[in-house]
């Protein structure tokens, strides 16, 4: 029993954090916003060079063979900076799903290119009707009633939807002919795990975004003066921020435990992941509200970054299952399995 990250995990997260501080700070976000683009190719190149693409892919399939717990703090760091590019979706969700069908002749080359960082892949899953960043992707994995399909993306099959998040281009994908890579039965387990990874890494990003909002607001509260004092010296402001920080402190270990638990793929791990998604969404929502309030009218404008966080938080709160969906997965554990202090880390050997 040890709740700490390994030195390698801490190091990986630190590398990503410092790269993002360099290439994804407020000026970078602003620059992208004015350019009207949703993807910074120069930044993406640097991120690709980190070699994270195959982190969750088994070594036999050309990956690093690592676990969600090795990536969870990276996802948190991406959320903290409100990273526009979907690094987490690609590395944490799309590529592992491809890897589950690595033996399929059409999947194999696609997986290889994705791991090499040459292409990106999108996932169209029933819980997410609008697919983010599909127009930049070379291929999409599409879940249909009778199985999982792979399709090369061409612009004519995409119908654009407009997200409030300026960095989140959305599309629906037309029902075009595609290659079925797995039947419904074959796809069942990999898709269940995809949903878990989706929820987990979205939770981790939300957790990072919550801290990002707090840190923005703290910075402003130290500088902005009213009545001759920094507004951060007023107790009402302090208490807003302290309440959010409490929420964050008690969401973080849940997200980390969910990452460690994910590979179990049982009713316990699913409940923990859903709990993480709920807790992180709640913290992020509260954090964005507090930040807007503390920035005053500035917070209601495009002048500062808070609105970027708010909009992404609205999106991610629903991505990979919204609160009601996840509450039911928690209910399946709470109302049907043993409860009590000795059950936090316990699980029955029979997988439910």
């Amino acid at each position: 029993m040890d709740f700490r990250f390994s030195d390698e995990q801490v190091m990986t997260a630190d590398v990503v954090r410092s790269l993002l501080a360099e290439v994804c700070n407020s000026q970078d976000l602003r620059r992208l916003l004015t350019s009207g683009s949703t993807w910074d190719e120069a930044r993406w190149k640097k991120l690709s060079e980190l070699g994270l693409a195959g982190i969750l892919v088994p070594e036999d399939n050309g990956g690093l063979g690592l676990a969600p717990v090795d990536l969870v703090q990276v996802a948190e760091a991406c959320g903290y900076r409100c990273l526009p590019e979907p690094l987490v979706d690609i590395v944490g969700i799309a590529i592992p799903l491809l890897a589950a069908f690595a033996d399929h002749p059409e999947v194999a080359p696609c997986l290889e290119q994705a791991i090499a960082g040459e292409i990106t892949v999108a996932v169209s899953h029933p819980v997410n009707p609008y697919v983010p960043h599909a127009s930049r992707a070379a291929a999409a994995l599409i879940v249909r009633d009778d199985g999982l399909y792979l399709v090369a993306i061409s612009p004519d099959m995409l119908t654009m939807q407009l997200s409030a998040d300026p960095f989140r281009p959305l599309h629906t994908i037309a029902r075009v002919p595609a290659t079925r890579i797995a039947s419904r039965d074959e796809a069942e387990a990999p898709l269940r795990q995809t949903l878990d990874r989706g929820a987990l890494f979205t939770a981790a990003q939300l957790l990072g975004m919550a801290q990002g909002c707090v840190d923005l607001a703290v910075g402003y509260a130290k500088e902005r003066q009213q009545f001759g004092r920094p507004i951060g010296s007023y107790q009402a402001i302090k208490h807003h921020l302290a309440s959010v920080q409490v929420k964050i402190e008690f969401a973080r270990p849940v997200v980390y435990a969910a990452a460690a638990d994910l590979p179990h793929d049982d009713v316990y791990s699913r409940a923990r992941i859903s709990q993480a998604k709920l807790a992180a969404s709640e913290a992020a929502d509260l954090a964005a509200h507090a930040a807007i309030q503390i920035y005053g009218a500035m917070g209601y404008s495009w002048e500062v970054d808070v609105h970027l966080y708010l909009k992404r938080i609205i999106a991610l709160t629903q991505a990979w299952g919204g609160p009601s969906f996840h509450r039911e997965r928690v209910a399946a554990r709470v109302f049907e399995k043993p409860l009590g202090p000795e059950t936090t880390f316990a699980r029955e050997t029979d997988r439910a």
Binding site: F3, K222, K238, A242, E249, A257, G340, E342
Partner: protein, 387 residues
């Protein structure tokens, strides 16, 4: 990160469980705040625990402990609450003063006070608050005047839990008469039956005398009873407060048991309940789990040599607010029976939810009010300016 118990930890759990099964009183003990009889029954239980060397598993062997780590302490607590064992009447001693004594006490003080604390022969009260010194603890006025090898204590302490029946108190006194605020304070122990001590019980919200006023009128104690250097009382108190808010005072198991009872109450009420209540029941379980995970995470860090920091404040806010929410949800489920007190024929679980709700309302007040904790988080964790 490895969230699986080792075989050794599992074996330890089994050992605790079987000992508790054999020793926990079959009938719940009468309240330690309502009568001398209830208090003494709890003292007797402390003796039983101590004889099995289960009083405080993290303490060194020579003081009646087992030198175990914090993860094992958490496992012990889980089993303790699972077994429905009695509340710890000496919690001010074993959870607060004990760790402080081990850090700041002289070897003579440790051997004088710790074994009797562990055995329950001496039960402790905390005497810090005064009528004019609540949140602003540095405003204490009670004085300790040094005369030769003795201190003479004078003053008025208040809200001292268990002081009605306890044996000793650890008090915060102004030992330097000219001093102000945090300076010139000393932490001094005094027997509650010493000449010049008068105890005035205060009925609490539930009618029981869980705390008391302490009037000190020229109470003489040896200088040996001072913990740490003269004038260093404040920093020692803050260390104690860290233990209090941080880990020891409220272990996660307590809330996990409440959450389980709440789920059982909900299921017993039929599943056609208001969806808002159902969501609150699920939230109770999630919050109790979140608290447990967070404490395990802190314990792992401390086991590797880390220090407890501002999480003492975030913990205190989290558990106290969670406790209120869980009890409120239970009262909603009870409907018309919510108001029924203990002896009412229709009272559910002898009014335990209502009693628990009352007590939960004290959580945001004692051990440093939640407003003060929020100030600490804002200033020390987030770095916001003081003025």
């Amino acid at each position: 990160m490895d969230l699986i118990y080792t075989e050794e930890q599992n074996a330890f759990r089994r050992e605790v469980r079987s000992w508790l099964e054999a020793h926990v009183p079959r009938q719940p003990l009468p309240s330690f705040d309502a009568s001398r009889e209830g208090f003494e029954a709890h003292r007797q239980w402390e003796r039983v625990l101590n004889e099995g060397r289960w009083g405080m598993v993290t303490w060194p062997q020579r003081y009646g402990g087992r030198s175990l780590d914090l993860i094992q302490w958490l496992i012990f607590e889980e089993e303790y609450y699972r077994a429905g064992a009695p509340l710890r009447v000496n919690q001010n001693g074993i959870f607060l003063l004990g760790p402080t004594l081990m850090e700041y006490g002289t070897p003579e003080q440790k051997s004088r006070f710790l074994p009797k604390m562990a055995s329950g022969d001496e039960i402790w009260a905390q005497a810090w608050s005064e009528p004019q010194a609540g949140s602003d603890l540095a405003a204490v006025r009670a004085s300790a005047t040094r005369i030769g090898e003795e201190y003479v204590l004078r003053g008025h302490k208040i809200w001292s839990s268990r002081a009605v029946f306890a044996d000793w108190a650890f008090g915060l006194f102004r030992s330097d008469p000219g001093s102000e605020r945090h300076k010139g304070l000393s932490l001094i122990f005094f027997p509650l039956n010493a000449p010049g001590v008068r105890i005035q019980p205060i009925p609490q919200i539930d009618g029981e005398t869980g705390f008391a006023e302490i009037f000190l009128d020229d109470v003489r104690v040896p200088a040996f009873n001072r913990l740490g250097a003269e004038g260093e009382g404040w920093s020692i108190c803050m260390a104690t407060a860290g233990f209090e808010r941080g880990l020891m005072l409220r272990s996660p198991a307590r809330f996990q048991v409440t959450a389980r009872r709440l789920v059982e109450l909900f299921m017993g009420c039929g599943t056609d309940a208001d969806p808002a209540i159902r969501a609150a029941v699920l939230k109770a379980w999630m919050d109790a789990e979140a608290y447990a995970l967070s404490i395990y995470s802190t314990a792992s860090r401390l086991a590797a040599g880390g220090q407890i920091g501002a999480e003492a404040s975030t913990n205190k806010i989290f558990w106290s607010e969670m406790d209120i929410a869980m009890h409120k949800t239970a009262l909603s489920l009870l409907g018309a029976r919510a108001e029924l007190s203990r002896h009412s024929p229709d009272a559910v679980e002898a009014g335990r939810w209502l009693d628990g709700y009352f007590f939960s309302l004290a959580g945001p007040i004692y051990a440093g009010s939640n407003e003060i904790q929020r100030n600490i988080i804002a200033e020390r964790m987030l770095g916001l300016p003081r003025v």
